[in-house]
Amino acid sequence: MNNVLGILHVDEKTQGLHPLTKHRCTASVPFASRYRMIDFMLSSMVNSNIQNIAVFTTLNNRSLLDHLGDGKDWDLDRKQDGLFTFSTNHFKESSNLKALQSAIDYLEKSSQEYVLICLSNLVTNIDFRPLYNQHVKSDADVTVMCTAKEHNDTLFTNIEMDDFQNIMDIDRKQSNMGSLDIYMISKSKLIDLISTHAFKYRYIQDVIRHNMNKNIKVKGFKYEGYVTKINTIKRYYDSSIDLLDPTKFKQLFKDNNEIYTKLKDEPPTTFHNTSSIKNSLIANGCIVEGHVENSILFRGVHVNKGAVIKNSIVMQKCMIGEYAQLDRMILDKEVNVLPNDRFLGTEKKPRVVPKKKTIGTFVI
């Protein structure tokens, strides 16, 4: 797969994740105790031996660029190829075709013959090699990766595929197959599509959809493994809590396909005499003196004595005061929960506390 260049264009319109996306783009929303959303796709690419990866970012990219650095935690700090970040504010309209057009020099200069384009923040652990093998052997111009879904599920764009992997329809009628917005395409064809259509379309997926029965032959590749897209707070919460199920956890964290992330030198988590923990995922660097149940703690969370956390997601460096109680809450980074207070969300609507907030009244 070192003949493939990877493009991650992950600036989706995800209003649904507000306020988690107030200070950051969706790609850098913390997920699963120690990762950011982008880690899953980026690691999948790296594990598939893609060594030249371009990440397109737009607004709100400070946190993402800080996270990625020079790519060393993904082994992408290379002299030849490696990680490239494209961040210019003038694609405000988030037209991914314009963004690709602005990077056409980079595409032309790269030695790879094929391009893998990913347009969604998926939580998954995909090996792209079977997709590449099928694409190279087939006569298709574009191979789109799909997953099985419920007919009325709107998380992924409807796609219709026949028994010979030919794509019949995209986004027209309900189907039991959804597009993952992952495309394999030859570089020359991509450059050709960009230069021909950039004036007319805004999105590469629209170019493919509108031209697929004319001059673009599109095939599908069905991915059978675990994949989810996170576009609302409810989905964020449910997908997080899902990971407490060992089978789902193992599908995402396969033994030989590591998910890489920025490393932080946190010590192992310390549990005190007064702690009790049930069915929870806990990252490094936490200090647990209270009770944690069915919850997810990120790095460096301090749960003080007598505090009770249930069914909640607590992000980096939150401080939970003594005897405070949380149920069905999502705490963004560095939230300070004062002692002795209770905060409850509901099953339908988990409550989100924005970054760096202090919550609680001074109740004794």
Binding site: S33, R34, P246, P267, I277, K278
Partner: protein, 382 residues
């Protein structure tokens, strides 16, 4: 300019023979410690936290794992264009090859390395100790006292003085006498094996000592020779946690010290101990698990009971099992209904279901690949 004010030389070639099978395949500085680290991480982190950016690491015994762990020093921010971490194993010269004969000889053989940086001071440290120390404060004291050498000392219990090199000082902390493992100690100030030398003085003594072909050791030769010549030897009292983890018992104890609030806190963010990160998924604590007064590393799965123990990363403890007062090293699986007490479980061990290991009292057991299961594991009655 390549000039550095102070260069650190880290002695990491020791065998650590008293650690038994733990150091069969790895040098003592590479022995895992504290749920995530290796012993050498403490001195390397002390260097980088003290702003020392040039560290020569002298290796000799079983260096494979140590060398690959150190790499070019990236985890400790020592991958520098000028200076940085350099691994210095013994080498062959025109007149033949030589092993490092002792601590001082190892420095002698690397005079060329040190001279590249034309330093004023050389810091000699060892990769065998667990402590957090700001070497710049020690350097300040060295300069203030106008000493030829400053030796860091820490008080040890009087009954343990016979295990250490003991410094007898006057009221201004000038060292008057040095006694190696004394039976009738006059002081309880032990040398921590941390020295700051004026480089020109040290170089002279190294060259001189080499001609006399003694044991080539700092404690046995260099320091006594300097004392004899009435050099200025200054003690630097270190306050804080310091432990030589030379034996299975002290290694076990030092690990558990992390839980018992005796002055070694890894959560302090202004003096981070850095290491090669294993990058494992988060740890999972199961519904029936009990975890008390313990440290658990990433990627571990706990379904049983953990009490007053350190679990490294990627450790599995299955349901019905109890781990108490134990250190469990990485990539280890502990079966169901097994009881483990007062042990160190070596890396990559698979402990079967329903056995009992270790005793409530007595010496600490090391369980590793060479342990005979029939002797170490008692099948429990239930």
């Amino acid at each position: 300019m390549n000039r550095k004010e102070m260069v650190a030389m880290l002695l990491a070639g020791g065998e650590g023979s008293r650690l038994g099978n733990l150091t069969k395949w790895i040098a003592k500085p590479a022995v895992p410690f504290g749920g995530k680290y290796r012993i050498i991480d403490f001195t390397l982190s002390n260097c980088s936290n003290s702003g020392i950016d040039t560290v020569g690491v002298l290796t000799q015994y079983q260096p494979l794992i140590l060398h690959s762990y150190l790499g070019v020093g990236t985890p400790w921010d020592l991958n520098r264009k000028r200076g940085g971490l350099k691994i210095l194993p013994p080498f062959v010269q025109k007149e033949g090859g030589r092993w490092y004969k002792g601590t001082a000889n190892a420095i002698y053989e690397n005079i060329t390395f040190i001279e590249q940086y034309d330093p004023e001071y050389v810091l000699i440290i060892s990769g065998d100790h667990i402590y957090k120390m700001d070497y710049t404060k020690m350097l300040d004291s060295h300069k203030k006292n106008n000493a030829d050498v400053t030796i860091s000392v820490t008080p040890v219990p009087w009954e343990e003085t016979s295990r250490f090199g003991i410094m007898n000082t006057d009221e201004n902390l000038k060292i008057q006498e040095f006694e190696e493992k004394p039976t009738n100690p006059k002081s309880n100030l032990a040398s921590m094996g941390v020295y700051i030398f004026n480089w020109h003085t040290l170089k002279r003594y190294l060259l001189d000592n080499e001609k006399k072909t003694l044991s080539n050791d700092f404690g046995k030769d260099i320091i006594p020779a300097m004392l004899k010549d009435h050099c200025s030897l200054q003690a630097y009292p270190f306050e804080g946690y310091w432990k030589d983890v030379g034996t299975i018992d002290s290694l076990w104890q030092a690990n558990l010290d992390l839980l018992d609030d005796v002055g070694l806190n890894l959560h302090e963010c202004n003096w981070r101990i850095r290491s090669v990160e294993p990058n494992m998924p988060p740890q999972y604590i199961g519904s029936d698990a009990i975890v008390r007064n313990s440290m658990v590393g990433e990627g571990s799965t706990v379904m049983g009971e953990i009490n007053h123990s350190i679990l490294f990363y990627d450790v599995q403890v299955n349901s019905g099992s109890l781990v108490e007062d134990a250190i469990v090293m990485p990539h280890t699986k502990i079966g169901k209904n097994t009881t483990i007490r007062r042990c160190i479980i070596g890396e990559g061990m698979i402990i079967p279901d329903g056995v009992t290991i270790g005793n409530k009292e007595g010496p600490i057991q090391l369980i590793d690949q060479s342990t005979n299961p029939e002797q170490a594991y008692n099948s429990s009655a239930n």
